[in-house]
């Protein structure tokens, strides 16, 4: 269906969609499109974003938008980019906005193909760390020791036993010219990165931490706060890579313990039941510290931005 001209001029992603209260992803998408402007075609795989924005007869999208399948957004985006090249429509760019399930897991082969071919697509993964559209099952992006419905905490389980896949590094290893992470808690930083990515040609990747109130288990008015806590403790490192090298990081102003971040979410609640999760909490703190060390998140002076 067509979008009325007036709505389009106001915003490229309008209200009235069916996202849950406090959805980090919806907020991210609105700001992504503010940064790209209207000359983009958006490809979205099956997932939350597809479901809450496309009930037939309604659409918040003020840009051309296509959903095809769960695992093929990178390939569909490659096809759109090829068509634009074939037709000489050089001012239109291609954007894929996907979730972590399609990016880290089911569409992993297709994203590798897109990257290796060097197709002109800005691929954005809104990462909420599980399959939220189906109720919060474990994905390759689920953090260590988070409880999910397919890897729950229980008498013999403390949640996910594997590390989150390091997708930005994998993307960078393909030779992508621009790779960045961002958080929905820092929208100006996100928009700056989207704009910067639009200045590059070839495959570019931005991974955005988008807290999910419904499944992470926090009140919907705390999305940005939880996002900020993830960044402040070092579990969600915010950085930029150009041509394979880290060229910028978001420094942590005041480092907080990971327990502040974890306690704010029901998916880590089991780690705080008595002494049971003590070793796991220490492991998560060590993980955050390694991130801080690896990306230099505290800077030389060890503190302020």
């Amino acid at each position: 269906m067509s979008i009325p001209q007036t709505a389009r001029e106001e915003a490229l992603f309008v209200s009235g969609h069916r996202a849950c209260h406090g959805c980090g992803m919806a907020l991210a998408v609105r700001h992504i499109l503010k940064a790209t402007g209207k000359n983009v075609i958006v490809v979205t795989p099956t997932g939350c974003l597809e479901t809450f924005t496309s009930p037939y007869g309604f659409s918040p999208w003020g840009v051309p938008w296509i959903h095809h399948l769960f695992e093929n957004a990178p390939a569909v985006a490659s096809g759109v980019a090829a068509a634009l090249r074939a037709q000489g429509r050089h001012t239109t760019r291609v954007l894929a906005i996907a979730g972590d399930g399609s990016t880290f897991d089911i569409g992993f082969g297709a994203i590798s193909g897109m990257l290796e071919r060097g197709d002109d697509v800005l691929y954005i993964c809104t990462d909420n760390g599980a399959y939220m559209n189906t109720g919060g099952q474990r994905s390759g992006a689920t953090p260590l020791y988070a409880a999910t419905t397919t890897h729950p905490a229980g008498r013999k389980s403390l949640g996910k036993t594997e590390m989150m896949k390091d997708l930005p590094a994998i993307v960078a290893a393909h030779g992508a010219p621009y790779v960045a992470t961002a958080s929905v808690a820092y929208l100006k930083d996100l928009q700056k990165k989207v704009k910067k990515a639009m200045g590059f040609h070839g495959p570019r990747y931005i991974q955005i931490d988008t807290p999910c109130a419904s499944v992470w288990g926090f009140p919907p008015d705390r999305t940005l706060e939880v996002g900020r806590m993830g960044v402040a403790c070092g579990l969600v490192p915010i950085f930029e890579m150009e041509n394979g090298k880290v060229t910028g990081v978001r420094r942590i102003k005041k480092k907080t313990p990971v327990t502040d971040y974890l306690k704010a979410q029901a998916r880590f609640r089991h780690l705080f039941a008595g002494d049971r999760g003590k070793a796991e909490l220490a492991e998560l703190q060590a993980l955050a510290d390694r991130n801080i060390e690896k990306y230099g998140l505290l800077g030389r002076s060890g503190g302020e931005e």
Binding site: M1, S2, I3, R8, K38, N39, V40, I41, V43, E50, T51, T53, S54, P55, Y56, G57, S59, W61, G62, V63, P64, W65, I66, H67, H68, L69, E71, N72, P74, A75, V76, A77, S78, G79, V80, A81, A82, A83, L84, R85, A86, Q87, T92, G109, A110, S112, G113, E116, R117, D119
Partner: protein, 396 residues
């Protein structure tokens, strides 16, 4: 005007696709399809064809790339076989629903396991319910002509469905035959540029691939079926329009071969048709009232035409290189369903012939006709599918 070349079937397909001026081609190797996309790659490398050629990492992405490019208004093409077609299955169903009119060559090959590169129709038949239009060809010449028709059929505004041209692996793709080629101007006049009304356009943003609930999904599916129904008439028109240019008539949705006055009629599709025609000629010369129906268009299923062509026959022997495990052959099932309840319906025997490249030679065809004549003489139906040429030494 046309010129004749002796070329491999794969090259005939590549030349037909080239003449249709595709804008986006995706390619992934699988035997016996590979020569087609290799030829197209060579044409681009030599500057004979200008098109975006996307070297994908799987058949799933091959079909996905041309779904995206087709939605963005580029004429799009790929080819595959066997496991590759099955890997595309999910993409093809979705592209039908989104009415994306690309063309695929389905080079027929058996499905694993056991793994085999030999020909049969199990791969494309497995896609029969998808809504992809399926056209089967008997020869390299028919493959060439049908590909040129395929884009026009797919892009027809009353159809807008993917079209798969099914051609037998090796027997057609890798054998050299005389093929008469059209002039580029003739193809251009026949097939205007692809100009869809709806496409991905920043100046007229539209939302594609919406979520549908119980209030609209049935209507979407019904619309596909209506398009399929409409396609039957349009396919015949497009074929006959092409015949007027080329002078070559391969038939409409079906070809009737010596069916007049036939008591036994065989039904077949693909490359085995040529052998069946020879066998029918020999049997006719011995006074046997035998004829053949070649199915060119399998989906949509041309039951009106088949029913008309078999009118008066006593026994119909369906020969098919596919099987629906636990039931019978797909073509036989289709035909029996459409015949059910008709007065004076002929008896139908389902012959499973040619799985995994098992030779369907004239001896085996004579055996099929002999069995059909037994049924003709006894009037007793043969309801069980007949597996032709099974080796008793290795049947468990």
């Amino acid at each position: 005007m046309s010129h004749i070349k002796v070329i491999e079937g794969s090259e005939a397909v590549a030349l037909a696709v080239k003449a249709c001026r595709p804008q986006v081609i995706s390619a992934y190797p699988i035997s016996p399809q590979t020569h087609i996309v290799e030829q197209l790659a060579r044409m681009i490398a030599d500057g004979e064809l200008e098109a975006e050629y996307i070297r994908v990492e799987s058949e799933f992405s091959a079909a996905s790339v041309i779904s995206g490019s087709s939605a963005a208004a580029s004429r799009s093409y790929t080819a595959s076989s066997s496991q590759g077609l099955l890997l595309m299955t999910e993409v093809l169903y979705a592209s039908v629903g989104m009415r994306l009119p690309f063309v695929i060559t389905g080079v027929n090959r058996a499905l694993s396991a056991p793994i085999s590169i030999q020909v049969d129709h199990q791969d494309s038949i497995s896609l029969r319910d998808s809504g992809v239009i399926q056209l089967y060809v008997e020869s390299s010449q028919e493959a060439y002509d049908t590909h040129i028709a395929a884009f026009k059929i797919a892009e027809d505004r009353g159809i807008l469905l993917p079209v798969m041209v099914c051609m037998d692996g090796w027997i057609l793709t890798h054998s050299y035959e005389r093929v008469s080629l059209m002039e580029q101007e003739e193809v251009d006049r026949f097939l205007p540029p692809f100009q869809p009304i709806n496409f991905l356009d920043v100046n007229d943003p539209k939302t594609w691939g919406s979520y549908a609930d119980d209030d609209v999904l049935m209507e979407f599916k019904y619309a596909i079926e209506k398009a399929m129904h409409h396609a039957k008439g349009r396919i015949e028109e497009v074929f006959s329009e092409l015949t007027q240019i080329t002078g070559r008539d391969h038939g409409g949705l079906i070809e009737r071969y010596r069916t007049d006055g036939a008591e036994v009629i065989l039904v077949a599709m693909g490359s085995m048709v040529g052998t069946v025609k020879d066998a029918v000629d020999e049997l006719r010369s011995k006074g046997k009232k035998v004829g053949l129906i070649k199915i060119r268009c399998y989906r949509p299923f041309p039951h009106e035409e088949i029913l008309d062509a078999i009118n008066g026959a006593k026994v119909v022997g369906v020969m098919e290189a596919d099987f629906s495990m636990g039931s019978e052959g797909a073509v036989g099932m289709d035909l029996k369903a459409k015949l059910f309840g008709k007065a004076d319906a002929p008896l139908v025997i389902d012959f499973i012939a040619g799985l995994g490249g098992r030779d369907v030679n004239k001896g085996r065809i004579r055996e099929i006709v002999r069995k059909a004549e037994e049924v003709l003489n006894s009037g007793l139906p043969l309801n069980e599918p007949q597996w032709v040429g099974l080796n008793p030494a290795i049947v468990p």
